[in-house]
């Protein structure tokens, strides 16, 4: 496992730089939207990575509630934090694209609202972790993650009732998309998935180390008070 980390890091760096080259230079300019469309190569992969990480967080939370394994909680923390970062990227790059193309920064469309609500829920999860005093935090945060997951379909249906303005996914629908664009897009999708996994991994490792250090310090101070007596 330890050796896989540098390999993944190198792979991520290679894919990201090739993806950047592809997105900025190699991919042809889109006919109607122009260069602003290129943000799409970062926007969609970030969204994909964020949603994957949120799913990892949910799975880790459920495992924690059932098994009470501390590593599951560490993974939940890592996935939630990194997921919020990627979700923030999505929420920032979206309006940058929407302003020239739709003429508005923001609209209460299905996908936009769902992403925003997810972001809000995971931020509240992180705030809960920050404000809660140690021992019981993992249980509370895991419970909140489960409730948040239950909320997602309800949010979906409540906003589905409004008209959807977001461009429908173009993959597989028709042959109108340039294969070079598709190529660059999938490179970036792979790059962002690897990048997300890499950051989540190192954050997970950090969290496990932090807990080990805390435990060791607690043990040490306990031994000190024992020996001084």
């Amino acid at each position: 496992m330890k050796r896989a980390f540098p390999i993944l890091a190198i792979l991520t760096a290679a894919l990201l730089s090739y993806g950047l080259y592809g997105a900025l230079i190699k991919a042809p300019t889109e006919q109607t939207m122009g260069d602003v469309q290129r943000i799409f190569y970062y926007h969609v992969p970030s969204a994909w990575t964020a949603f994957c990480l949120f799913f990892v967080n949910l799975a880790a939370s459920v495992v924690y509630l059932v098994r009470r394994h501390p590593k599951a909680d560490a993974l939940a923390v890592a996935a939630a934090e990194v997921g919020v970062i990627f979700c923030t990227i999505v929420l920032v790059t979206g309006p940058i694209w929407a302003r020239p193309v739709w003429g508005i920064w923001w609209t209460w469309d299905l996908r936009l609202t769902l992403t925003l609500v997810l972001w809000l829920m995971y931020v509240s999860d992180l705030i809960l972790r920050r404000f809660s005093s140690s021992g019981q935090t993992p249980v509370l945060a895991a419970v909140l993650a489960v409730l948040g997951a239950l909320d997602v379909p309800l949010v979906y249906f409540s906003i589905w009732f409004f008209r959807t303005q977001h461009p429908q996914p173009v993959m597989g629908a028709g042959g109108s998309i340039d294969p070079r664009m598709l190529h660059v897009f999938f490179i970036n999708l792979a790059a962002f998935s690897c990048f997300g996994a890499l950051v989540c991994w190192s954050r997970f490792h950090l969290e496990v180390l932090r807990r080990d250090v805390e435990e060791a310090q607690a043990l040490e101070s306990l031994l000190e008070t024992g020996s001084s007596r």
């Binding site: 809960l128 489960v146 409540s158």
Partner: protein, 225 residues
């Protein structure tokens, strides 16, 4: 006293008696909601036509903010003299305690709504153009949606620093679909332009899902240590 319904009833009766004697929650909620109504009324000053469209949002935001005031006191009053610890070690099922608290909050918030709605009608010149009986359904379902989650998250935020701030931070994001449904249902009934059926069904689904989930997960939260 051994049945869980008996424990629920006893806890609920105790909470209602406490509230009847102190009137802490209801007074602070009422005054808070009154302030919200007055301030909204100042800042918008709408015509009758406009107010019908925005009243749904105003009413429910006012009730939501006011409900948070009561919800924060739900569990905090059990901290005095370690009552909550006594609950934890007692063999009483956690769910009956939770149901009692949720029902108590439901009664408090309903009383608040019953007292504040006439004020809203007066200040905003409201008259429903749609089927007014549906407002009752929306009120009951919406209030339950607020208090079931609110009671649950109040128990969660009990273990955190600065818990008064924590409750809305946890409650609001999760309640977004319920809030949207209440506001949209109320607006469509008041304007009479759309049917509120979809939103009422959504509220029912929300209530069922979160009542089940809260009852299922509350024991974990109560015993989280």
């Amino acid at each position: 006293m051994s049945s869980s319904a008996g424990i629920t009833r006893a806890t609920l009766a105790k909470d209602l008696r406490l509230e009847w004697r102190s009137k802490d929650a209801i007074n602070s909620m009422l005054f808070f909601a009154l302030l919200v109504v007055v301030i909204f009324s100042f800042s918008f000053d709408p015509t009758a036509e406009e107010s019908r469209r925005i009243a749904g949002g105003l009413v429910w935001v006012a009730f939501l903010f006011a409900a948070v005031v009561a919800l924060n006191q739900t569990w905090a009053r059990e901290l005095r003299n370690q009552v909550l610890d006594a609950y934890r070690v007692s063999p009483a099922p956690a769910n009956s305690l939770f149901l009692a608290k949720a029902l108590g909050n439901f009664i408090f918030v309903s009383v608040l709504e019953a007292l504040m709605t006439p004020l809203f009608i007066v200040f905003y010149n409201l008259r429903a153009l749609g089927p007014a009986y549906q407002l009752w359904i929306v009120a009951v379902l919406g209030t339950w949606a607020l208090v079931i989650n609110g009671t649950f998250f109040a128990a969660m935020s009990l273990r955190t620093r600065s818990r008064e701030i924590m409750l809305p931070l946890l409650l609001f994001p999760i309640s977004i679909p319920a809030l949207l449904a209440m506001v949209e249902a109320t607006s469509s009934i008041l304007t009479g332009e759309f049917s509120a059926k979809f939103w009422i069904v959504l509220l029912v689904a929300y209530d069922v899902v979160f009542t089940m989930a809260s009852l299922f997960l509350f024991e974990l939260v109560l015993h989280a240590e």
